[in-house]
């Protein structure tokens, strides 16, 4: 038996809808599970992004310093990096704040908005700093494959992952590379 491919998924500034769509490949997850080892994912309890990853799917845009650190680590430790879904590919709704000043956004959400205000230095220590603007992944690292869609439908995800596991470049038809 050949060794299983080491696959990871990462969740940055997005809604996790792409991950949900991945789970929507339903019974085909069983076939996939036989062929891969899920070494890092929001769906698995692994704290540190591991070394020597074959394929990583990265969902979400770059919104804060934590996103950026994790993406750089994922890129360094993975052979194939997939920009997974519209937030990762274009910034999507995550980048709607780009035309606003970051201080205005924080004031609106944490002071003018409902709920309690995170106070004092303890909040600043645990919360990652927002980047001045939200960026797609390829603004920071080289991307091997773009998988647009909000979310990409399960079929596109399966076709892409299947091709990548076979060591091939995914060839998706036009109707499978639409945004939104």
């Amino acid at each position: 038996m050949t060794s299983k491919a080491r696959v990871a998924t990462v969740w940055l500034g997005g809604c996790s809808g792409c991950h949900m769509s991945f789970l929507d490949i339903d019974e085909k997850l069983f076939d996939l599970a036989d062929r891969i080892e899920l070494v890092y994912s929001p769906l698995a309890d692994v704290k540190e992004f591991p070394e020597d990853v074959d394929v990583v799917l990265v969902e979400g845009a770059l919104c804060n310093t934590e996103n950026l650190e994790l993406l750089l680590k994922a890129r360094e430790r993975s052979r194939v990096l997939v920009s997974f879904g519209d937030c990762a590919v274009t910034g999507n709704t995550s980048q709607l704040r780009n035309r606003l000043k970051i201080d205005d956004v924080l004031t609106q959400v944490y002071q003018a908005g409902p709920g309690s205000i995170p106070k004092g230095p303890e909040a600043l220590e645990v919360l990652p700093v927002l980047l001045p603007k939200v960026y797609p992944l390829h603004a920071a690292v080289p991307v091997d494959f773009y998988l647009p869609g909000c979310p990409p439908d399960p079929d596109r995800i399966l076709r892409t992952v299947t091709a990548l596991l076979a060591g091939e470049k995914p060839e998706l038809p036009a109707e499978s590379i639409t945004f939104g």
């Binding site: 980048q95 773009y146 945004f179």
Partner: protein, 240 residues
């Protein structure tokens, strides 16, 4: 009507004298991508997607506004042209705020469809994320969202050339241009708008929409242009 001979991608074809290169290509089964062009409106060569290479010409020519000449040798899908077309689409994506996932025209958008057809799955250019004028929903039926506009002017031409109202126009130049209503006023206060909806139907993106439509609900119908044109020019009124 006299006929001319042209060579398109190495294959000889014919076209009626006076036809544009775009018409000549399409009549000979060669499809070119277009955004600003719409059969029934005056071509303006704005979007640059239909650029072709003509032997002997020193620059690329927009097929929609170039008249086919006898003996012309045309290339429509060279590596260079395909590269430029993709670049044009990427620049359009990065210029304003095209957020397909929350757009009324997701599904009927010609920009989104062309991106997929030409394999544009991301934009290499940094998004400008401009702060644009607010969405105008003061009109009884229609809405105007500058975030989605690609400045093709199809709405302006339909309003002027087909409806004859000339409610819509353009202000500013380059990336500062904006579609405006009458003398730069809200759509709801316009006294020239006939509420015909032609502008909404010819808009290739989600810029003009029926009020009340939500994500991906817009459907656009441009067949009426041929119907009106047939009636006016050939006096035959049949809606095909």
């Amino acid at each position: 009507m006299s006929v001319i001979t042209v060579t398109i991608n190495g294959i000889e074809g014919s076209a009626p004298a006076g036809a544009t290169l775009l018409e000549a290509c399409r009549q000979n089964g060669v499809e070119l991508p277009t955004l600003c062009h719409l059969e029934g409106l005056t071509p303006i060569g704005a979007c640059r997607l239909c650029l072709v290479q003509v032997e002997g010409a020193r620059r690329l020519l927009p097929a929609c506004v170039t008249e086919a000449q006898e003996g012309m040798i045309i290339q429509t899908h060279t590596e260079k042209l395909v590269k430029y077309r993709k670049m044009t689409l990427e620049l359009l994506l990065s210029e304003r705020n095209h957020i397909c996932s929350v757009c009324v025209a997701n599904g009927s958008c010609e920009l989104r469809t062309l991106c997929a057809q030409l394999g544009v799955d991301h934009s290499r250019f940094e998004y400008r994320c401009p702060d644009l004028p607010p969405i105008d929903t003061s009109h009884e039926r229609n809405g105007l969202d500058h975030n989605r506009c690609i400045s093709c002017t199809r709405c302006i031409r339909a309003c002027d050339q087909v409806e004859g109202a000339h409610t819509l126009d353009m202000e500013g130049r380059g990336i500062e241009n904006r579609v405006i209503i009458d003398m730069h006023q809200t759509w709801g206060s316009s006294r020239t708008c006939t509420k015909c909806g032609k502008c909404v139907n010819v808009c290739p993106t989600g810029t003009l929409f029926w009020k009340g439509s939500t994500v991906a609900e817009m459907e656009k119908e441009v067949g009426f242009l041929q119907w009106i044109r047939g009636g006016r020019e050939k006096k035959t009124w049949s809606y095909l």
